[in-house]
Symmetry: D2
Subunit: 351 residues, 4 copies
């Protein structure tokens, strides 16, 4: 019963097969081989545009390098106060941007709104040297709270951003989970909705370590090859990353993986609701469930081998808070979560 994180899973079969397929023979290093070219073209097909694609291997690298491309000296990025870039990347965005600030904004269920961005701009407006310069917003899709921005919500955010000369970054660590949940195309969820630069994650959805910075607004692609290399993120045997993407995209494998993870999460939610003692804390819209459960049940489930994280509740809206006998816990499903695990966990937590 592994619900600690989707990165506890390994690599899915088609990805391993692609890796094996490309493991022999010689190929130019540093991304100059045919496979890497093919993967770049594959991204362009998928996104229906002539985007620039830079493969990296961790989500933190993708985010921090992307943000370094859209920020300047004294720069500020507006993001949700719970955003991964602000709280979970050990200052990598600050370091690789040479000091830009990740400016946390409030918002229920992990989501930014046009109003909070405007409030951020009141704190860090354009043209005041002491405050530095506002450069970008970063939104996570799906969010760190397992929710999703609708296409209209994304457009509303990107409109207020662009109206105020802010670039738009999307942290797509769980891009596929959001995509299948919205039933949108990659283009619709990104550049057609105003996203300038995307951290496209495959790792949490079945790859070993495959991420890409996808740049729709090519102004931000200038010098990116040097940014990546300067931070030690250019791989010599790049085909190992490209091969992962080959397996990932083949036969819509990535969408299938995401659909599976999301459906397991939905089963968790349904099972939790079907009880007087447990419930979903708020709507689960992708592959993460935030649940409120009796402390005793959580402890028992944990003792019986279930892996999950108790989640901090500071900053939470009062309506979303557990009571004193309850915990807020996070449950994450992945491509390899099984129905059996879900059933077993629900039985434990509800008993």
């Amino acid at each position: 019963m592994h619900f600690a994180s989707d990165n506890w899973a390994g690599a899915s079969e088609p990805i391993m097969q692609a890796l094996s397929r490309h493991s022999t023979g010689f190929a130019p290093a540093y991304g100059e081989g045919d496979l890497c070219d093919a993967i770049e073209a594959r991204f362009q097909d998928l996104f229906e545009t002539d985007c620039a694609v830079y493969i990296v291997a961790t989500g933190t690298a993708a985010n921090a390098l992307a943000l370094s491309a859209v920020t300047g000296p004294g720069g500020t990025v507006f993001c949700h106060q719970d955003a991964h870039i602000r709280v979970d990347e050990c200052g990598a965005p600050e370091f690789l941007t040479s000091g830009a600030r990740m400016w946390g904004l409030e918002g229920r269920h992990g989501k930014l709104s046009p109003a909070t961005i405007l409030s951020g701009l009141e704190q860090v407006p354009h043209g005041v040297v002491h405050h530095g310069q506002p450069n970008a917003i970063s939104l996570s899709q799906s969010t760190e709270s397992g929710t999703i921005y609708s296409l209209d919500e994304i457009k509303a955010l990107t409109t207020v951003a662009h109206d105020n000369k802010l670039a738009v970054h999307m942290d797509g660590a769980r891009f596929a989970n959001a995509l299948v949940s919205l039933n949108a195309t990659p283009a619709e969820m990104t550049w057609k909705a105003g996203v300038d630069i995307l951290s496209f994650g495959a790792t949490k959805n079945g790859a070993w370590c495959a991420e890409a910075v996808v740049i729709f607004n090519k102004d931000y692609a200038k010098d990116f090859i040097y940014r990546r290399k300067r931070a030690g993120h250019l791989f010599s045997k790049m085909r190992f990353s490209a091969a992962q993407f080959e397996g990932y995209f083949e036969n819509d494998h990535w969408l299938e993986n995401a659909r599976h993870a999301n459906s397991m999460a939905a089963k968790l939610v349904a099972g939790l609701q079907d009880s007087n003692t447990t419930r979903s804390a708020w709507a689960s819209e992708a592959n993460e469930v935030f649940a409120i459960v009796p402390k005793s049940s959580a402890q028992k489930a944990s003792a019986s081998g279930a892996n999950f994280h108790q989640w901090p509740t500071n900053g939470l809206h009062p309506d979303d808070q557990p009571n004193d006998d309850e915990y807020l816990i996070r449950l994450v499903c992945s491509f390899s979560t099984s129905q059996e695990e879900v059933d077993q966990f629900l039985a434990l937590i509800k008993s």
Copy 2:
């Protein structure tokens, strides 16, 4: 006929098998699983000491992060003027150390000497704020010229370094090739000879992307987990890297790979010498051969599909220079170089 670089090869069979073996099931992320613990212990066994081990995935990351651990504000690292860290890493060492300088020193065949280090210390002595502070030396084993430091040479360098309060970093991108050439133990070639911190490379010798920073002087390990994460180099599915090391070390696979690569290089040298028109420019001591060949032969070989790099000759000792009708070329052998390729290439280049 692929002699461009050892990173044009893929992943060797035992490494792919280990990857497959560990691709299913769940494991704690970010290096906290059993496999990662086992690999750390394996390193400690191999090096016969309680070293600290930090897995990363590129040699540039290993080098730059290692150097960030041994340098301070205004820091200087003395290295050979052809060192990878100085000329081939796009400023990653400078960036990840927040501005340390890689101070290039002269030396024939890619090697530093105690005298050149002392000359470096004359230029950047201790205690002069304008010059910054000298912090470390970095030596590549094997060197960028395909040569090797003997154990005594390493000891002589580390002695002058420590006598002058300089840490000793070894860039071991081709550690295994040097090790089998010296017929030494990992301990003998590192901490027993005075090395404080090592970039241990497996990628060029059969892995996909497996490198490790191995720290013998634990003073330099302080904060290293934060250094790695802050630069985006902590992998969530770390077992991907650990599995590669499992396959790498099993049954001395890594030494076998290195021996094969070195022997192929030796065959190239022997073949080149057995001709009036071609020769090894200087002694090849590991898996790289620097050869002087007629321009016409090089062009013909190239046209016939042989991959190799023409090598720059500026800075070369006059005795090592090709004449006007010749090129200096670099030929690199890997675990997957075949005898057939070698023979085919020699036939072409000598015809």
Copy 3:
């Protein structure tokens, strides 16, 4: 009527005299002359301890360099959400620390409390690589809200900090104003109360541009000369800074300047209270007054040549808020604020 900031004033007479006195003749550059030695000794006398003293010329440099000395990779500094280091230094602390985060904490009237520091440690605890490492707290004395920490309050903060392995930085841009207000000695307000490192400001209190990083815990002084120079903050003709400090300290000139500024602020407060329409928003404890005044009065005063800043009210406690017809304004007094200016301003704002 200049109440915009204490840095709108020029240099006081004794400081100009000291500058003139030292403007002729030759002296070793870069702080190695006798005058610089004497100033260092003067600081040690004043602080009654063998502190390390590094002169710089801007408060931002003092703060950012001091913080760079107490933070490590992925570091976090807990500070008030309105702290100058977080909102008014254009990311200099983030840049010069190579990416440490200034973690804003709430607190009425610009003050941290032990409880808020502990809440910060819940968000960024020790030992979690994703969150980075908590390294320090920074408190401003006097605060950005014109209030002052008592000696007991400082001790309570430094105790909780040291208990949790956090260094203590004090931003003393208005050190003298706080000191005379508390009627404490420099030692009592700093190291005797647990402060490890201090940004000592003289600029706002009568100097042209004289600041110093004073380090009580000498562990943090390691490499500081390189930190200062590496950021371009070592002055060749350092005696111009030292001379300013000579004039500053002579005959308690600095304390006299601060007393004057504080007393002018007190007169402002008294005058404001003596009216039905205007008031001090909260207690003014040094040389800054935060006043609530009718919008119409503020506009009239402004039109009549009074300089002051309207102050943002977001984040303010409800009890501290102006109503819809009022503004919150900030009024800063300096050594050169005159009784006439104060009277003239009060007459305008109350009319």
Copy 4:
């Protein structure tokens, strides 16, 4: 007898007078007052162009910030191997550029040539990610060897730079000394000759601490106000710097100071030549003299109170070397060097 450096002098009389003149009263902080505007206009008049002007207070800040404006990720600046930015600024350029490399090139008497720049471009060409990107050249006028580039030499360098997409930075720490030596206008020696960005130094020529980054190619001025502030180099009481420039430029005071310093240097040269035992090592073209003198004479002069630096000779052309009984020494004259000091020194050194 002070010949150690021109920064051992204090501030000249007109500069102190301007400071006094502006020390009273109130003025907007951070460079927004009338005086600062006037100084900017004065620079534009002097340079006969609409340049952007950013006042800072150290030459290291001017250089490092200027270089940060013309370099990108993985950037490289070609400079003379003895350039101040490479050897005497404690890594400030590397730090404030986030890791650009100062690439030292050879050249007799401190001067770059088009050929050495082209050789630099062979080592760090455009478009090779491993080598990073070549961004700029930096030339010092006058040079660190006391020599001067003619206008034609500057043009030749800037032409080869621009032909190769390199920005041109001039380190003008001793700008005035070069200017009066060439008898050129500021415009002729900078933008008319192809200079894009200038570090304009006044400190060594009579100011306390007044430097400016003057940007002729406005593309490089983007974000500069944030660069300056982010590094802690925006002064609150900026009029302090502006006043120095007012005094500096008034009545051609700066040119007079420089002419005096240069003439004292010329007298030193003449005196040295007028002896069998001492001589100028190479042509002194500004205010610095590199002299070859008997060791015994140097020691005696030193013992008698003469201040000067013995100069390192490594890297020197054989024809410029002292013999075994001689030292190479550097003698620097300033606006406050007197004829008496020169005579006294010559008498000592030649006796």
